[in-house]
């Protein structure tokens, strides 16, 4: 049995857990912890991932894809490198409606690029939100100058949208395999 993995990363509350839940064939194994009720994060959501999220897609008897979601809070970033080890590629989730998270998204992107030079895509999540920034504006805001890097419109709670992002990442991986060394 061969297992391969992809990592879903991004800032706090960018939709990583939702993304994995939308596509995983198993109930996502989440290490979510309730956010203290008196904290500001509690206004954003009730729980946050503290170690990782884990989802699975079984291709056949011989091949399984694991999806690992990283914890969003910086205090758990020691987990990132462990999760990144051996990854096929990664998705950087960005909440398009929250410019206050763009700087962190850029920093996370750079960090993961340093872990391993694997292909990646950026998912401009929450595109159904009225205040969402367009993917082309996000590209400039996140300083993604390389036009070969795909910046994709995404709604993490929509399975079709999630499939599209994962497929684009897989196409990028194929392109890299085909590229002259």
């Amino acid at each position: 049995m061969q297992t391969v993995k992809m990592v879903i990363t991004g800032p706090f509350s960018s939709g990583k857990t939702e993304f994995i839940k939308s596509i995983s064939e198993i109930e996502v194994v989440s290490t979510e912890s309730p956010i203290a009720k008196d904290s500001a994060e509690a206004l954003e959501k009730a729980n946050t991932t503290v170690a990782m999220d884990f989802g699975r897609i079984t291709v056949d008897d011989d091949l399984v894809l694991y999806l690992f979601g990283t914890p969003g809070q910086r205090r758990f970033d020691f987990m990132w490198e462990i999760l990144a080890e051996g990854m096929l590629g990664f998705v950087v989730m960005v909440d398009s409606s929250k410019p206050e998270t763009f700087r962190e998204a850029r920093s996370i992107l750079e960090t993961f690029r340093a872990y391993a030079p694997t292909p990646y895509v950026v998912a401009a999540n929450k595109q159904d939100h009225p205040d969402a920034w367009k993917p082309e504006d996000l590209r400039i805001a996140l300083r993604i100058e390389d036009e070969n890097v795909k910046l994709l419109s995404c709604v993490a709670k929509d399975k079709e949208s999630v499939k599209e992002v994962l497929l684009e990442l897989l196409y990028s991986i194929l392109e890299e395999m085909d590229a002259p060394k």
Binding site: Q2, V4, P11, F12, S13, S14, I23, A40, E41, L43, E44, I57, V59, D60, L63, G72, Q73, R74, D77, F78, W80, E81, E85, G86, L88, G89, K98, P99, E100, F102, R103, E104, A105, S107, E110, T111, R113, A114, Y115, A116, T118, P119, D131, A132, W133, E136, D137, I140, A141, R143, E145, K163, L166, L167, L170, Y171, I173, L174, E176, M177
Partner: protein, 296 residues
């Protein structure tokens, strides 16, 4: 879809850069910020800032194809007579009389009258309006908490005199006065990145007015020299080189790239550059994954 945000998390310089690079047409409105009493959590999940809601409108900037064409701001009288007076083209008495006698005229009508009456030249008017608009932008660059909204495809009112201003120069000039070291460190975290020119550098540098220090930095850009090395070669402190590189980046004149020798980022411990996982993966595996996800 409007671009909404807050200057506390997306600065004026970043906004101008976005509008410039994407050649947007529309109006940028800035509002007084009213604290809601709630906190906003930044992307690290830890840092919190005050959430502010938009209040009274305090400034408008109009853009066409990424160029600033008009600006007005509360507290900065935008009447043409006042603009010309501040630029030294009219004296106080002349400006007061014009404001009284031409109260019903719009800027374009007034400009025509003044030119025909040989009060000022067309060039005086263009330069004075340019100076007025740029001074508003420089004021905006010192703001750090106001909510903003950019609405696309909205043309400025016909009555305004539109003077196109290339934002690249404004951005570079504006970043010269940024003194907040923390902000620069956040923007350019790693000095071990190299710099390269974007495609069509000739086109990008056209009409750009760089200062001596900027030119010195530009002279060392070759895709290999790191920001730290360039700063050392130019005898600049980390803050000085950061400020210049930030200006060049925001003006879209240079790009940061990771050289092979770059230090790893601060996060994580004992980072080792791993072999790409997919060199060990067969092409067939990826194709099977594609088929599976398509059919999921």
């Amino acid at each position: 879809m409007a671009l909404k945000g807050n200057l506390a998390v997306f600065t004026t310089t970043q906004l101008l850069n976005l509008i410039n690079l994407s050649k947007k047409t529309g109006v940028l409105t800035l509002y007084e910020g009213h604290k809601t009493g709630k906190k906003l959590t930044l992307g690290d999940g830890l840092t919190q800032i005050d959430e502010v809601a938009p209040g009274k409108e305090i400034a408008h900037l109009n853009f066409q194809q990424g160029m600033l064409v008009f600006a007005d701001m509360n507290g900065k009288d935008g009447h043409l007579a006042s603009v010309l007076q501040r630029a030294g083209k009219l004296n106080e008495e002349q400006a007061r009389t014009i404001r009284e006698k031409a109260a019903t005229l719009n800027d374009k009508g007034l400009a025509l009258r003044l030119i025909n009456a040989n009060y000022v030249t067309k060039n005086d008017i263009v330069r004075s309006i340019q100076k007025h608009a740029v001074s508003i932008v420089f004021d905006l660059m010192t703001w750090n908490k106001e909510p903003f909204e950019f609405k696309e495809n909205i043309a400025p009112p016909d009555s305004h005199i539109l003077v196109p201003i290339d934002l690249k120069n404004v951005i570079i000039e504006g970043t010269r006065v940024i003194t907040e070291q923390k902000h620069l460190e956040e923007e350019i975290e790693n000095l071990d990145f190299a710099l390269k020119f974007p495609e069509n550098p000739g086109e990008k540098f056209k009409n750009v007015q760089l200062g001596t220090n900027e030119w010195r930095v530009v002279g060392f850009i070759n895709g290999k020299n790191t920001i730290r090395q360039i700063g050392k070669a130019c005898n600049m402190t980390d803050t000085e080189i950061r400020r210049i590189v930030y200006g060049l980046l925001q003006a879209g004149l240079v790009q940061m790239i990771r050289p092979q020798s770059a230090e790893q980022p601060k996060r994580g411990t004992d980072l080792k550059r791993q072999q790409p996982a997919n060199t060990r993966i067969e092409r067939d595996v990826i194709q099977r994954l594609i088929v599976k996800i398509k059919n999921t």
